[in-house]
């Protein structure tokens, strides 16, 4: 019947290594840019406080500036969330496809 024994731990190992691989490579690329973006926003917030202290902008102007910065942080975090979901999706699909080979091999014919 089956050519190889279907071992659950083998399947789980294969799935987990596929997930780790995807997460590691994707986050390595995203993290440095996101850090840079958030640092520049922090610098901007300091500048707004400075401009307000120097009386170069009014309270209302400072509030509008803060809104712009706040929304910028929001888009960065949303991007993080979106890329995270894409990464999770990739990891799930990669884990599922890694199982394909193991299962087909164990069954002895192409079930998946």
């Amino acid at each position: 019947m089956s050519k190889h024994k279907l071992i659950l731990s083998d399947i789980l190992d294969e799935m987990s290594s596929a997930v780790k691989k995807v997460l590691k490579t994707r986050w390595k690329k995203v993290k440095p840019l996101a850090e840079l973006q958030l640092k520049s926003i922090i610098h901007n917030l300091e500048q707004i406080a400075e401009l307000k202290l120097q009386g170069k902008i009014t309270e209302e102007q400072a509030r509008l500036h803060l809104t712009i910065q706040k929304e910028s942080i929001r888009t960065i975090l949303l991007s993080f969330e979106g890329i995270g979901i894409v990464t999770a999706e990739e990891a799930i699909n990669s884990a599922l496809s890694s199982v394909k080979t193991i299962v087909n091999k164990a069954i002895g014919w192409k079930i998946l």
Partner: protein, 144 residues
């Protein structure tokens, strides 16, 4: 054994469907429109920087830029609302719209220093980078 084979059946169902989709598909029209809005905005900041402290910087001379940009964002929002699982792109566009509205109000009041413009430029550029980064990750996925 029965439990194992039923799990296998469920698994095979998922694998046989062309992968699981948790988030929107890549939409090249949205991506292109965001890129062209980013280009338009970059040109706006170059113009503002060059005309700083000159009468040409007057808000009235930039009304068409604000009208066009806000219309672009609204078109993108309507398009994305019609697409499936685009909540992140929609929220990012809403954020961008708030940024453009605030920028317009600041411009109406008159920019008092170049630092002000640098701060706004950097925040809006960061927003575009984040939005395009997300679009790129969708594009990469659609190519794999």
């Amino acid at each position: 054994m029965l439990k194992f084979f039923s799990s296998l059946f469920i698994l095979s169902f998922f694998i046989s469907c062309s992968g699981i989709r948790l988030i929107q598909e890549y939409d090249s029209i949205s991506d292109n429109r965001i890129n062209s809005l980013q280009e338009k905005t970059a040109k706006f900041f170059i113009r503002v920087d060059r005309q700083f402290s000159k009468p040409d910087l007057n808000y009235d001379n930039f009304i068409s830029f604000y009208d066009d940009s806000k219309a672009d964002i609204n078109v993108l929002l309507v398009r994305n609302r019609a697409l499936y699982k685009t909540s992140i792109t929609q929220q990012q566009l809403e954020s961008l719209l708030i940024q453009f509205n605030s920028l317009e109000l600041l411009h109406k009041k008159g920019f008092t220093s170049k630092e002000e413009i640098i701060i706004i430029k950097s925040a809006i550029e960061n927003s575009f980078t984040a939005i395009l980064q997300f679009q790129l990750s969708l594009k990469k996925r659609s190519n794999t």
